[in-house]
Structure formats: structure tokens, C-alpha cells
């Protein structure tokens, strides 16, 4: 019947595209079209995930041409979770954006965002590295256009810098694809994993593709473009960027690192050490910079730079537990960061500014928003009972079991730094300024506060459903080399 038809993989890519086209055509009821598309996409992702969870990995040959010639789509546990987190975050952002944008801006927001969503879905299911290049381009261009949407000198220059960085990253990646294709005759990941072997050309390919993708993931030395872009973009867009777009290029690097690159275990540990060190620098640097920020959105943007550092701690561990911890970090961070940006958005609209020092007595006017901030803060800090805690626990355990305990120390230092800046903001929110002279607060639509709170609550619930989520991660054992 319809439910167990194998075509849901293509539907989750085509539905947002058609939604984008429809919202571009019929501008007068754009929000209705967009929200129905968003719901449809979430449902189809749900059905696909249910199919994969119940009867395992799905492989889908487009145009019925098998691997070397045609393009294959492949969905395993890792892709399902990335799709699910994109669906959840995407749906929440769609609801938030429907109240956030009005008139002219929403006319441009929805087509771009729905295209971005379809690019993300296409990226997470594809197993063809050139196809990944095209999806990366879709995500890059739409993200840049979305950042530029908020107008103003800061946003436009940030979008320009982001576009240049994104194009450079894509070109480096494409050079890697070209060399890979011409060395091994195929662009399909599964076939590549069988054919690649270590030779000087391979070292260069790995270098190029890793640097290209690190540029787009904004790992520490290459993160210069992220704070400006994520903080000057409109709030729903910065939530998208921090939660999903940055993770998309990380996902590709991850797949390449595990499946395509011919790295045996101690090569993974050796090379991974460099990424681990960069990750630790990102954590310390991001944390310290976040502490110095006076504006909330910039603080949250630097916290993204830090959280990305956590993901790269899993590379030197090269153990399945380490990879699962990194994936859990992605899920927890995506949801908590979305909630936090929504909070920043509410405060920005309510008070007209997001200066942290003047956040006094927001507790009275926006109680739900402050609760959302503290819950998502708990998840970012990695305090129980949140998703962040489970991720932190798994990574600590993986670090100790693999004998590299120093990554665990970095993790704990990161947790303390996060605690410092989360409570710095909370501290200001509790000040008892005589709130009588507070200008009559502009009413934020309840929808925006409730979406922020529900995402924050979901970040906490993520701490309780760990066995279920970790079970999904095992489908198709994505973290072992020969499996894909």
C-alpha cells in the first residue's frame, strides 16, 4: 500500500522542491502553501524513518541505473537521524517563521527555505559524491540568500563573505571529486570504499576535500565567517544555519572519513588527532569569545563555533561509541540551539535589542522564553537530564575506554565555559530593576514563545529517549567501514 511503497526517498526530496515552486508561483497565499508543504515533508520523513527502523536499510537506484553509471540513494541509521532532526527543526522553524516574517520578506523567505530543506534531505540520502557537490551548492546558495534577507550592511557583508567561503569550499571539494573519479573510475561511495588505497594522490585528495568541507563546517581556524553570518541573519535563518547547514558539510566529511578514505584504525587516530586538537581549540576559543560578547545573538553564534568543536573530538577516538556520541551531540545541539535562537528572536522583538546587559526583568514579561533559554542552556551545558548530557556521557566514556582521557578533560572544560555564559545571560534576566518604567512590551505572538519552549523541552526529552535513538544509530551500522 502507499505506506510501504519504496518511493518515499524521492518524495522527501521532491515535496519541498514542489512546495518551493508553488510558494514562488502563488505569492498571495504563500504561508498556507509553505506550511502544508512543511507538514507534508515531516510526515513523509516520518514514514520513511518508520520504514527504515522497521525493515532496515533502503537503497534506491535512480532511473534504474545501478551504481557506477547512475546515482544511488542510500538511507541507513545515520541518514534517518539526520533527516529526522532536519524535519523536527525545520517544522519548528517554519511555524516560528510564519509568525516572524511579514509581507515582502516572507515572499522571499519561503521558496529559499523550502529549497534549502530539499537540499538537506537530498544530501542526507545521497551516496554519490558529485551529487553531494550539487546538493552542497543548493544548500550554500540558499543559505547565503537567506542570510542576506535581513538587509542592512552587516547582513549583506556577512552574506558576501559566506558566499565566497562557501564557493571556495565547494571548488576544493570538487577538485577532490575530480581526482577521485579519475583515480578509481566511479563517484559512488560504496564502490570507492572498495577501490581506494593509500597513495600520494590519495593524501592530496583527502587534504583538499577535508579543507574544503572544514571551511563550510567552520571548524576553528576556518570559522571566521560564521559569527557574523549567524548573528546578522534573521532569527529563523540563524537557527537553520547553526542547527542544520553547518552539520550538512560535517556529515559529508564524516561519510568520506569512514567510508571512502582508506584509513585503517591507527591512521584514523593519527589524522584524527589533528582534528581533535582543532576541535579543542574551537571549544576553548568559542567559549572564551562567547563569554566576552555583549549581544545575545553573537554569543549564541560563538557557542555554535564551540559546539562544532565537540563534534571533532570524536575523530581521534575512532570508536563506534565515539561516533555515536558525535551524532548525539548533533541532535542535541541542533534542537537546543534552535530553541536558543528563537529565544533571542523573542527578546529582540520584545525589547528591540539583544544587549545582554539590558536583559533585566525579562523573566516577568517573557517567562516562557526564559524557561526555554534555561532548558536549552542545560542541554548545551550537558547537564542531566538533557540530550546534551547523554552525548557528553557517551563521549567521556568513549574517551576513557580508548585511553585518550584528555579529550574528556577538554569536554568538561567546555561544559564549564558553556555554563559560564549561559548563567551570565540568566543572571541578567533575573535582575530586579524597577520594571515599572519598562515600556509597554510589544506582544510577541504566543506561537513564537511556545515553539521556543517546545523545542527546549524536546532537548530535555532527548535525554530520556537515548536507548531508542542509539538503537536507530545501529541500523546498517553506518560507522564501520565496509558497511555502507
Amino acid at each position: 500500500m502507499l505506506i510501504d511503497s519504496p518511493h518515499w526517498i524521492s518524495i522527501i526530496i521532491l515535496l519541498p522542491i514542489l512546495g518551493a515552486v508553488a510558494s514562488f508561483l502563488w505569492r498571495q497565499h504563500i504561508v498556507k502553501i509553505a506550511l502544508t508543504t512543511a507538514t507534508g515533508t515531516v510526515i513523509s520523513v516520518g514514514i520513511l524513518s518508520w520504514q527504515v527502523i522497521s525493515n532496515g536499510v533502503q537503497c534506491y537506484e535512480l532511473g534504474a541505473w545501478n551504481a557506477p553509471l547512475g546515482i544511488e540513494l542510500y538511507v541507513d541509521g545515520l541518514s534517518v537521524l539526520m533527516l529526522l532532526v532536519t524535519a523536527v527543526v525545520g517544522f519548528a522553524i517554519s511555524i516560528y517563521a510564519s509568525a516572524y516574517f511579514e509581507g515582502n520578506k516572507s515572499k522571499h523567505f519561503w521558496p529559499l527555505w523550502l529549497f534549502l530543506w530539499s537540499g538537506l534531505n537530498a544530501l542526507f540520502v545521497s551516496s554519490d559524491i558529485f551529487n553531494l557537490f550539487v546538493t552542497l551548492e543548493i544548500i550554500g546558495l540558499s543559505a547565503v540568500a537567506l542570510v542576506a534577507l535581513s538587509g542592512g550592511a552587516k547582513a549583506i557583508t556577512a552574506a558576501m563573505r559566506y558566499l565566497l567561503v562557501s564557493l571556495l569550499g565547494s571548488m576544493l571539494y570538487l577538485m577532490g571529486v575530480a581526482l577521485l573519479y579519475h583515480s578509481y573510475g566511479t563517484v559512488d561511495m560504496v564502490l570507492l570504499s572498495l577501490r581506494t588505497e593509500m597513495n600520494p594522490a590519495m593524501w592530496l585528495i583527502m587534504g583538499l576535500m577535508t579543507v574544503g568541507l572544514l571551511l563550510k563546517t567552520a571548524l576553528f581556524p576556518l570559522h571566521f565567517w560564521l559569527p557574523a553570518a549567524h548573528s546578522s541573519a534573521p532569527v529563523p535563518v540563524s537557527a537553520l544555519l547553526s542547527a542544520l547547514v553547518v552539520k550538512a558539510s560535517f556529515y559529508i566529511l564524516w561519510r568520506l572519513w569512514i567510508v571512502v578514505f582508506p584509513l585503517d584504525n591507527d591512521a584514523q587516530v593519527g589524522l584524527g588527532f589533528i582534528l581533535g586538537v582543532l576541535g579543542s581549540l574551537a571549544i576553548v576559543w568559542g567559549g572564551v569569545k562567547a563569554l566576552q560578547q555583549t549581544r545575545l545573538k553573537l554569543l549564541i553564534a560563538y557557542s555554535t563555533v564551540m559546539q562544532i568543536g565537540y563534534l571533532f573530538l570524536a575523530f581521534p577516538l575512532a570508536s563506534i561509541m565515539g561516533w555515536k556520541a558525535a551524532l548525539y551531540f548533533i541532535l542535541a545541539h541542533a534542537i537546543a540551539k534552535t530553541a536558543m535562537f528563537m529565544v533571542a528572536g523573542n527578546i529582540l522583538i520584545h525589547k528591540g535589542h539583544d544587549r545582554i546587559a539590558d536583559l533585566y526583568s525579562t523573566v516577568q514579561h517573557l517567562p516562557l522564553t526564559i524557561v526555554a533559554f534555561s532548558l536549552s542552556g542545560i542541554s548545551l551545558m550537558g547537564l542531566p537530564p538533557s540530550g546534551g548530557f547523554v552525548a557528553k556521557w557517551l563521549l567521556l566514556e568513549a574517551a576513557i575506554v580508548s585511553g585518550q582521557w584528555w579529550w574528556g578533560i577538554v569536554l568538561l572544560v567546555g561544559g564549564l565555559l558553556t555554563g559560564a555564559y549561559v548563567f551570565k545571560v540568566l543572571g541578567y534576566a533575573f535582575i530586579q530593576e524597577n520594571s515599572t518604567n519598562e515600556p509597554r512590551p510589544i506582544g510577541i505572538s504566543k506561537r513564537m514563545e511556545w515553539t521556543a519552549l517546545s523545542m527546549a523541552l524536546f532537548a530535555i526529552v532527548l535525554g530520556f529517549i537515548a536507548p531508542f535513538v542509539l538503537g536507530i544509530m545501529d541500523i546498517g551500522s553506518p560507522f564501520t567501514k565496509g558497511s555502507l
Binding site: 551548492e137 540568500a145 557583508t157 558576501m160 563573505r161 558566499l163 571556495l168 577538485m175 575530480a178 573519479y181
Partner: protein, 102 residues
């Protein structure tokens, strides 16, 4: 030194020149030019190496990829130029803030 490797070498040199120009020059129009040259370099390497099929018809898959690449490049250039004009309109200079010399 078959033409394939010669053009591949040219492609690599173009790639380096493009990267050099992108990093070094300040004006945004020049940076976008550099990105296009970078792209042409990669495409040249892609198609040059596809011509290593001796006297048989060269491999068509890289050709298709390069055509796709060219269209992506033109779309990205169009967006980059539009953004550059907005940067110029907003800040008075077609240069990124960190490159402005006051």
C-alpha cells in the same frame, strides 16, 4: 606528454592562480573573477583527464559533470555579483569590511 596531461597541468595552474587571486585581491569583482578562474581550472582538470581513453571516444560522464558545474558556476556568479552590488550600495565600497583601508 599527451594533451590530456598538458591540459590537466594547465588546469592545475589555473586553479592555483584562481586561489591566489581570491585570497590576495581585495576588490569583490576581482574575487568573483578569481572564483570563476578557479572553477575553470577544476573543470579543465576534470575534462582533460577524461581524454585519456586513447583514440576511443572520451569518457562522457566528466563532460556532463562539467556542464553541470558550469551552470552552477554561472548561477553562483550571478548571485555573487548581485550581492556585490548590494555591498557597494550599503557600504559605499565594493570591498569586504575587513579589507577596507580607511
Amino acid at each position: 606528454m599527451t594533451p590530456a596531461f598538458l591540459y590537466a597541468l594547465v588546469g592545475i595552474v589555473l586553479f592555483s592562480i584562481g586561489l591566489y587571486g581570491l585570497i590576495l585581491y581585495k576588490h569583490l569583482l576581482r574575487k568573483i573573477l578569481a572564483i570563476n578562474i578557479l572553477g575553470s581550472g577544476v573543470f579543465l582538470v576534470m575534462v582533460a583527464l577524461a581524454a585519456r581513453t586513447g583514440d576511443a571516444v572520451p569518457d562522457a560522464v566528466p563532460h556532463a559533470m562539467v556542464i553541470t558545474g558550469i551552470v552552477v558556476a554561472v548561477s553562483a556568479t550571478a548571485l555573487a555579483l548581485a550581492l556585490m552590488l548590494r555591498v557597494d550600495a550599503e557600504t559605499g565600497q565594493a570591498v569586504l569590511p575587513e579589507d577596507r583601508e580607511e
